[in-house]
């Protein structure tokens, strides 16, 4: 309490310096948190990807051929070979990789733009969609190549004028009639794996669409029972890959699979861009860039704040001299100064954090243009932002900033000779 009073008095006496300190801290934390939040969106769980912590993604296939190398997506058959009989997996879903652009509508009316993902029936088990009306399609629907669809609420409204569209006929790609089986709550394009506005059973075409026998447009999402099962699952996949390789070699001696260690957990997914490269390459590069950005965003304001703390302390040299003369230890002096400063840093940090949350919430469309390309609008729901980890990061950065900006001045102030300090002549 005495510290709070002291800070308040200090602020009253030096309003400009107080504001500059507060604003400088807020600005630094604001920018750092924007970087953190943009990064977090790739990993934090939200519906329908609430189980991100238990996801393993199998994306690509890379093969040595008789005259070079070839890489791309997996064919349905390859994906099935890799991801069958996995111990420790709760469910495995095979689906197309990213929604394809199409049109949806009713005959004689303008067609709406839609993003179509073809999936198996396990998809609805791996991803937790919220059904407003109807149900997902079943394994029997997928097997029989049934023309049924699950659509998003906003598409249902756009095409039918009501979210209750179950049983209605929707024309996809102008001419192909589908019966609406279910309507789900809209999905943010930030849910990179599950995003679409129309989900249909994995068609025979998609299953038979292969090139070079092994490649196609299929991707796998494995839902583990627990994160501790990842190793068991990977072992099973490695066993399956070995079987696959033997079969490939039997067909053509020169061909072989080049393994990049898939499937990958959610945190690596953003780096699994290139089919002929391990995501580790992109991850380490991105980590280096992020570290450099954090360092600059922390270091520069810390230098500023530090020189301001130092100036502020210089005005209080006599007070410190008196405290030292009356037996206050150096350690206690340092602790007091750092704590006092921490309160200001935390206040600035809170302003920075709040403004960053508001900024991400309001300007999501501008910040996530990469996801926007998929279509729709990027709505960032509050629950996606209000994560304990976000507050944890903000607090950590505040501590770091505080330690960097007040540690050295506090240490110097504590080392002052009390006699000089009382005389106002610190050396």
């Amino acid at each position: 309490m005495t510290q709070l009073t002291r800070i308040y008095r200090e602020m009253r006496r030096q309003p400009v310096i107080g504001l500059v300190t507060l604003f400088g801290t807020a600005l630094a934390i604001f920018l750092i948190m924007i970087v953190v939040l943009m990064q977090n969106v790739n990993t934090i769980p939200f519906s329908p990807e609430s189980n991100r912590g238990r996801f393993l993604h199998g994306r690509h296939l890379h093969m040595k051929t008789d005259n070079g190398e070839c890489s791309g997506g997996m064919s349905y058959q390859t994906a099935r070979t890799f991801f069958c009989d996995l111990e420790g997996a709760e469910a495995v879903s095979l689906h197309t990789d990213g929604g394809s652009q199409t049109t949806a509508g009713i005959p004689g009316a303008p067609q709406a733009e839609a993003s179509n993902l073809e999936t198996d029936a396990y998809f609805w088990k791996v991803f937790d969609f919220t059904f407003i009306h109807g149900n997902p399609y079943s394994a029997a629907d997928v097997e029989s190549d049934a023309k049924v669809a699950v659509i998003s609420e906003s598409l249902a409204r756009e095409v039918f004028g009501t979210p209750d569209a179950v049983g209605r006929t929707l024309m996809l790609d102008h001419f192909v009639p589908y019966t609406v089986r279910g309507v789900v709550k809209d999905v943010s394009p930030l849910a990179t794996t599950a995003y679409a506005t129309v989900w249909t059973p994995l068609s025979h075409d998609a299953r038979n669409n292969t090139w070079y026998n092994y490649f196609g447009g299929i991707t796998a999402t494995v839902l583990a029972k627990d994160r501790s099962d990842f190793d068991r699952i990977r072992k099973c996949v490695t066993r399956n890959k070995a079987k696959f390789n033997t079969a490939v070699k039997a067909e053509n001696e020169a061909w072989a699979m080049i393994d990049h260690g898939s499937p990958f957990p959610q945190e690596m997914l953003q780096y699994a861009t290139w089919s002929n490269q391990s995501p580790d390459v992109g991850a380490s590069e991105s980590r280096r860039t992020r570290l450099a950005v954090y360092a600059i965003l922390l270091l520069i304001p810390a230098i500023n704040l530090s020189s301001m703390t130092q100036s502020r302390l210089r005005r209080r040299v006599s007070e410190m001299g008196v405290r030292r003369a009356f037996g206050c230890t150096r350690l206690r002096m340092v602790r007091d100064i750092v704590t006092e400063n921490l309160i200001v840093t935390l206040a600035g940090g809170l302003i920075g954090l709040l403004s960053s949350l508001i900024a991400v919430w309001m300007f999501a469309d501008m910040l996530f243009t990469g996801s926007l390309a998929k279509g729709g609008t990027v709505a960032v729901a509050p629950e996606m932002l209000l994560q304990w980890s976000t507050f944890g990061w903000a607090l950590l950065f505040c501590f770091l900033l505080n330690l960097l900006s007040s540690g050295l001045p506090a240490w110097r102030a504590a080392r002052m000779n009390p006699t000089d300090a009382i005389g106002g002549q610190p050396k």
Partner: protein
């Protein structure tokens, strides 16, 4: 004056050291950002090589068996070609459409795919290789529609005629080597061994990736094209596309009459199911090349915006840092300023002195900062200006350093201005009351 200033800076060396360190770090980071932005701006200003305004990509599809309106009689090879020809003709005569061209997937502007090949030929005695041009199969109308021209003033029409005759057109920046090894390619890249591209004109080349049976004659040289605005121009080769051959893919691009652009997408999509439907062919989507551009370039634009934001943040930091530090400094020097005033110093002189102190700090760290910038370039950590890794020119290097110096100076002046103005309002009599 300078000596006095230096002495004063030395007197407060501790806080000045911090400020100097901050200025040094910011100078180097700002140089890096300025270099990145300058490369982006230079690249953005390089010509696209293709004029894409009012152009749209028409995606088509065929009605599939099992769909409403599927006509089995239209699925034979003959009807397929007939329907395709009619489909293209109907599009060509659609009232909104001015021009129409066909190309393969790689011919669509703003798409970032590429298919690079090498051509082998002879140069009298030696075998020569033209390395890495990206293949675009296009109809002659493609050259007309995108107004592609040659480096020696060859007109669009001349180039279109040459392509029509069956010859290929290659961009003037295609590299030539005489020995096909990785080292030779790297060497050629480093030295930009394009030689005189016109010496290839009229020569025959082999490229099994394009045609296993025939040779390819280079008929003309064209200006290189860029895939997207943020990239440097690539090397290209244009090969004539048979408008009825689907083996290399068939994309259809149209240019819409300038006065018909408004509402074009809605109008043509509304006609897609009847007026523009031929057999099983129909228009499945229409997308302006500008939309394709915006999607393809989103990441690049974001990166550029991020650099601007970091730059503004750093400038704001310098401003705040100097504002805070000098606020204190002037407060501590109240009596000093008052004595100066009593001795006849004008406000302007005091202002100059205070600002001079900040600027002198910057002048002191600038050589170090330039050394840091040079190290960035030396270790190739700066942004490359082209595909060839050409080092930054001394002129651009110094110009950027000068811009950074000027920008930071401006921030220093602004940051010190406020506290200095306040300090000058001191009434010497009040300030020196205690003395």
């Amino acid at each position: 004056m300078k000596r006095k200033l230096l002495k004063q800076i030395g007197h407060e060396w501790r806080s000045n050291l911090w400020l100097a360190f901050e200025l040094l770090v910011i100078s180097i980071v700002l140089w890096y950002i300025a270099d990145f932005l300058s490369v982006q701006i230079i690249t953005l200003n390089e010509p696209m090589g293709r004029h894409t305004e009012n152009c749209y990509l028409i995606s088509y599809d065929r009605v599939q068996p099992g769909s409403d309106g599927f006509n089995p009689a239209d699925s034979t090879r003959e009807t397929y070609i007939d329907n395709w020809t009619q489909f293209i003709d109907r599009l060509r005569s659609y009232p909104d459409i001015e021009e129409l061209a066909q190309c393969n997937h790689l011919g669509v502007p703003y798409r970032q795919s590429s298919w690079n090949v090498s051509l082998t030929g002879t140069d009298g005695t030696d075998t020569i290789y033209l390395v890495n041009p990206s293949v675009m199969y296009v109809t002659p109308d493609y050259i007309r529609m995108f107004r592609i021209t040659g480096p020696r003033g060859e007109s669009t029409e001349q180039l279109a005629k040459i392509l029509e005759s069956g010859s290929a057109i290659i961009s003037g920046n295609t590299l030539k080597i005489t020995k096909f090894t990785n080292e030779a390619v790297l060497e050629a890249v480093r030295n930009r061994d394009t030689a005189d591209p016109y010496e290839h004109v009229g020569k025959r080349f082999i490229c099994p990736a394009i045609t296993e049976t025939d040779s390819i004659t280079i008929g003309a040289i064209m200006l290189p094209t860029k895939r997207i605005e943020y990239e440097h121009p690539g090397q290209n080769i244009l090969i004539r596309l048979d408008p009825l051959d689907f083996s290399n893919g068939q994309e259809c691009i149209v240019r819409v009459k300038a006065d018909r652009v408004d509402g074009f997408e809605e109008r043509i999509l509304a006609d897609s199911e009847d007026r523009l439907r031929v057999g099983n062919f129909f228009i499945s989507d229409v997308m302006s090349l500008m939309s394709i551009r915006n999607i393809s370039q989103a990441d690049y634009r974001d990166k550029m915006v991020n650099h601007w934001v970091v730059m503004l943040f750093l400038l704001a930091s310098i401003f705040l840092g100097l504002l805070g530090t000098f606020w204190f400094r002037t407060q501590q020097r109240v009596s000093e300023i008052a004595i100066r005033k009593v001795n006849g110093a004008s406000s302007a002189m005091i202002m100059r002195r205070l600002i001079g102190e900040g600027l002198l700090l910057l002048v002191i760290v600038t050589p170090l900062a330039i050394a840091g910038d040079w190290l960035l370039c030396h270790f190739e950590l700066n942004t490359p200006i082209d595909w060839y890794g050409t080092p930054v020119s001394p002129l651009r290097f110094l110009l950027l350093a000068a811009i950074v110096f000027a920008t930071i100076s401006l921030m220093i002046i602004l940051g010190i201005w406020l506290p200095a103005t306040r300090a000058m309002r001191i009434d010497p009599a009040t300030a020196l009351k205690d003395e």
